[in-house]
Structure formats: structure tokens, C-alpha cells
Amino acid sequence: MNLLWDWLSDPANWDGPYGIPVRVVEHLGYSAVTLVLAALIGIPLGLWIGHTGRGRVLVVNLVNGMRSVPTLGLLFVAVLVVGPLLGGDIAFLVPSIFVLVVLAVPPILAGAYAGVEGVDPGARDAARGMGMRPAEVLVRVEVPCAMPLIFSGLRSAALQVVATATLAASVSLGGLGRFLIDGQAYRDYGQMAGGALLVAALAMLVDLVFAGVQRLVVSPGLSPVRATRRDRRRQPTGVLDAAVAHQT
């Protein structure tokens, strides 16, 4: 505990090109690039599969298959294959991001797919029945209704990516993983614990940001609560409504 505190409170660790802030920014950089790429792949694919109902089997197999890939092993293979084709840091960066994307796509894809698949068939039918074209049904009904699950896919991907982006350090890149790798090399347990703590804190922070965005983007009508507290206070006669709803 003392070692951890000593390391965290040492001003030298917060300064310079190898200081904590720089590593945090690097770490966030890898994570952000990964999430954007994974979202660009996973969301449209998931929406398309959910909308058309085609390729459902693909989702299940892909998701399970990708989950069982050993991340670190894949990273080394990718570095061996792709590395020689590129030069400098890029030779390590591209494989690292690739591996992280492989990790992030399944939850995002699954979320988008499940979100669209789970839209009330009645709502979809009504949308078509009032003359919406397929693209309008997707944009105006299916996507907004799928938002809660799209977000939960993104959030679980974000947690995994932030936690796993530490592996970039194992192929000599930066990020918070540096503290883990270097700490282990120098048997500096304070640094290792500090790095781990920072990763956890960053993951939580990122999740919090996503939660905030989700609140702004997702319609309150999709939250599971029946009535907001304010509504209940304003509507003391709601009991009768609730009773009627109960019988249906």
C-alpha cells in the first residue's frame, strides 16, 4: 500500500515525456481509435443483420469465435505477419490496434444486432404500415429503439479495450501498460500497482462518460421504469391507470 502511494504521489512520475499524463493520453488514444474502428464495423453490420434477419448464425459464431481467441497470442502473430511490411512504431501500432478491434467488435456487433432484433414487431409493423420505407423504418424506429443495447455493447467493449490496451506496452508501445511491464522488469511493485489502479480508474471514468452520453441520447421512453418520479407526484390518479394496465 505504501509503495503504491509513494509511486503515485511522487511528482516526478507525473511529469515529462514518460509521465502519467502522457501515458494516460496514449492509452486513451489507442482505446479511442480502436473503439471508433470497432464501432464503424460492428454497428452497421449489427444493424443490417438485425434489420434483415440475414446472417444471424454468423453473429453467434463470430461472437463466440472471436471471444475465444487468445489476445496476446494473436498480437504476437499479427506483429510477426504485419510487422515486416511496415516500419517503426507503426509496425507495432497496427497489430495492436487490430487485436484490440478484434476484441471490441463482438460486443458492439452483438449489441447492435440484439437491439434491432428486439424492437417490438408491432412498432416495426406500424412503421411500415404508415408508409415508411425500409431505410426510414431503420433510422426512425429501429435505431432509436435499439439505442440502449447499442450503448451497452459499446460500454462493455470500452471497458474491455481500456483494460486490454495495456498489451500495447508488451510490443514496446506506450500507454498505461508501460507501468505494468516496466514495473515488473524492475520489480517496482509500487509502479505496477499504480499502473493497474490507473487503468481501472480510467476504465471507470470512460464508462461514466458513456453513461452520461447515453442519458442524453437514449429516449426516456425506453427506460424500464413505468413512470418517472416527477410524473407520479404530479399524477396521483395514476393508480387507476395502473390498475387498468394491469388487466391487459
Binding site: 417490438d120 416495426r124 406500424a126 404500415g129 404508415m130 408508409g131 429503439c145 421512453g221 387498468v244
Partner: protein, 367 residues
């Protein structure tokens, strides 16, 4: 006017859902499709707005073959209420109702304004417009479904069991409001239900379908009750057909009796005096609206609301024979209470007089 000409739908797999259906749904009227589960009602309905394409035959709306129209354009001009409601959970009630106007390119302000007017029309408080569908009761949601289908003021409405997901009391209320609304709007409506009572109550004409989508009988409710085409229709209509048929027969002039009345809150002694030896006396309020029957002999003090026998139904003067007969049959005094359109008492009638009126009708006349 919507006309089906020899329309057939065979689903992939070989089920013939609709077999050679020909019928006309006249402009401004309610045509009800009724029949047992799986008889092709929904399929028939959804072929009108081309949610399902017929295998053969033609469907025309005001003389235009729907097959030649763009399906999305067609649907934007037809109100469609689906059974499960199908409200959009992510939109407020107001925005749900405003959906079609917005699709048609109306301004946001105008769409919302129209939506707000419609909410009022279907009997929903304006505050509900700000809520989301999951904050409404089942009955309220079904009203929203109807309002949403009405929003762009389409001349044609398709309604698939719109009131089936609510309990009987609310259903009855929704049906009454629906009829009142239709009296104002005069839409051309095709209405699907598996409930024969609903069909008889709402339909200007009722089409009874048999499994396989075969039309067995197309007739007015009164004609249907009086003269079912075959055993299938008769069985489907169920019991009490003669009595139920009276609902469609306007009561002729009935011999009314002046009924002595006592005001609520009067001393029981007054009631006894007015009853003049009769066991029951009719209690009214200041507007002469009948409140119920009281039995002065067993009461003391003043006549209070909870003293009243409320079993008797009240019939409207000029209403149906069924209502008049039921008023007489349900009254503890055997005298059926008749009121005018404002709900104030005009007199009472006895069952034998209603029966005499029924007897006097020409023989074999549809009720």
C-alpha cells in the same frame, strides 16, 4: 369505396388464407370482418394497404387498382391500427400521433398541433402528450393508436382488433367513443374482430368469414341476427339472437304512463304518500333525472342515495325495442323508466306493452 374482386391469398407453404373473396366496403361506412381465429381476417385487411400482396384478384379503392400504386404512397393515405398497438416506445405520445403528418412533410408545429387536437378527440388529456407509451394504461395506448391512424385525416381506416387488448368495461367505452367519432368523421372503415358482439355493435355491415377466407354472409347486423345464412353463421352468432336483434329495431310509440316521483332527500313519509299504496316509488333529482327506486315501507327518515335500488336500466325515448324491454324487465317495480335525450324522465312503460309493440311488427321482418 373499397372493393375486393375474387381475391385469393395462398401463403408460401400452401395455406390458402383467403379464397376468392369478393366484397365491397362502402364509403363512409364501417364494414366489419368477423370470423373464427385463422379465417383470414388479418390477411384480408393487410392486402388492402399491400402489407401483404394478393396471389390473385384485384383490390380497388375508389376505382383505382391498388396494385398500380406505390405501396408507401398508398399506406400514407390509409390509417392503420394494428392489434398490438405498435406505438413507438422512444417517442412521446404527441410525437407518436404526429408521425404520419411529419412523414407527409408537414411542419413540426402544424403536425404537433394536429396531434394535440386528435388526442383531445379520442378523449385523452393534453398532459398525456408529453408522456411515453410505457407510461400509459392499455386503454389509453389503444386510444393513441387510433389517434395516430387518424392524424393525416385519411379517408380510409383499417383497424385490426383495435380494442381486443383491454378489459370488457374499457372496451365498451372505447367502442362507444369510436362510434361517436365515426358519426363525426364518416370514414370508410374496415374493422377486423373475432368478437361477434363487437361486430354487431359497430358494423354498418358485417362480413362473416369461414376458415380458408371464404365469405359466408355479408349483411347488416339486424339482417344477420334475423336471418343467418347457415348453421355456421347461426352458431357463430350464438344465443339470444331474437333478443339481440331488438337492439336494431327502433321502438315505435309506446304507451307511456305518468310516473309519480319523489325528490331525493325528501322525508320517507312523502315517498309513501306519493307511492299511494304502491310498493316502489321512483326517486329523481332536481333535473328530474331518475336515480333509482325506493321502497318507503322499509325506510325511515329521509330518502338517501344508499336507499335506492339501482338494478333498473334506463331506456331513451325513441331508442331501441331492446333497451325499452330491458328497462321494464330489470325494474323492481316492473315499470321501465324512459328518459329524453337530456336524461330527464318522460314516463314508464310495462313489458307487456313493449311485447305488444314487438308482436305488431310485420312477420319475418328483420328485427
Amino acid at each position: 369505396m373499397i372493393s375486393f374482386t375474387d381475391v385469393t391469398k395462398v401463403y408460401p407453404g400452401g395455406t390458402t388464407a383467403v379464397g376468392g373473396l369478393s366484397l365491397v366496403a362502402p364509403t363512409g361506412k364501417i364494414t366489419v370482418l368477423v370470423g373464427p381465429s385463422g379465417c383470414g381476417k388479418t390477411t384480408s385487411l393487410r392486402m388492402i394497404n399491400r402489407m401483404i400482396e394478393p396471389t390473385s384478384g384485384t383490390i380497388e379503392i375508389d376505382g383505382r387498382d391498388t396494385a398500380t400504386l406505390d405501396p408507401n404512397e398508398l399506406r400514407r393515405g390509409i390509417g392503420y391500427v394494428i392489434q398490438s398497438g405498435g406505438l413507438f416506445p422512444h417517442r412521446t405520445i404527441l410525437d407518436n400521433v404526429a408521425t404520419v403528418p411529419l412523414l407527409l412533410g408537414w411542419s413540426r408545429t402544424r403536425s404537433r398541433q394536429v396531434a394535440a387536437e386528435l388526442l383531445e378527440r379520442v378523449g385523452l388529456a393534453p398532459e398525456l402528450g408529453k408522456r411515453y407509451p410505457n407510461q400509459l394504461s392499455g386503454g389509453q395506448q389503444q386510444r393513441v393508436g387510433v389517434a395516430r391512424a387518424l392524424a393525416a385525416d385519411p379517408p380510409v381506416m383499417l383497424m385490426d382488433e383495435p380494442f381486443s387488448a383491454v378489459d370488457p368495461v374499457v372496451r365498451e367505452q372505447l367502442q362507444d367513443e369510436f362510434l361517436r367519432l365515426q358519426a363525426e368523421l364518416g370514414k370508410t372503415i374496415v374493422f377486423v374482430t373475432h368478437d361477434i358482439d363487437e361486430a354487431i355493435k359497430l358494423g354498418d355491415q358485417v362480413a362473416v368469414l369461414r376458415v380458408g377466407g371464404v365469405l359466408v354472409q355479408l349483411a347488416s347486423p339486424a339482417k344477420l341476427l334475423a336471418d343467418p345464412h347457415d348453421d355456421f353463421v347461426a352458431d357463430f352468432l350464438g344465443r339470444d339472437r331474437g333478443y339481440r336483434g331488438l337492439a336494431f329495431a327502433a321502438a315505435p310509440e309506446l304507451p307511456l304512463r305518468d310516473e309519480p316521483v319523489v325528490l331525493l332527500g325528501s322525508p320517507v313519509a312523502d315517498g309513501a304518500r306519493i307511492a299511494a299504496g304502491d310498493r316502489w316509488v321512483l326517486v329523481v333529482d332536481e333535473a328530474r333525472s331518475p336515480l333509482g327506486w325506493a321502497e318507503p315501507e322499509v325506510l325511515t327518515g329521509v330518502i338517501d342515495r344508499h336507499h335506492l335500488h339501482r338494478g333498473g336500466t334506463v331506456a331513451r325515448l325513441g331508442g331501441s325495442l331492446r333497451a325499452a324491454l330491458d328497462a321494464a324487465l330489470s325494474s323492481p317495480s316492473r315499470r321501465g323508466v324512459l328518459v329524453d335525450d337530456d336524461g330527464s324522465l318522460v314516463g314508464t312503460v310495462r313489458a307487456q306493452d313493449v311485447l305488444a309493440a314487438i308482436e305488431r311488427r310485420p312477420e319475418g321482418a328483420p328485427a
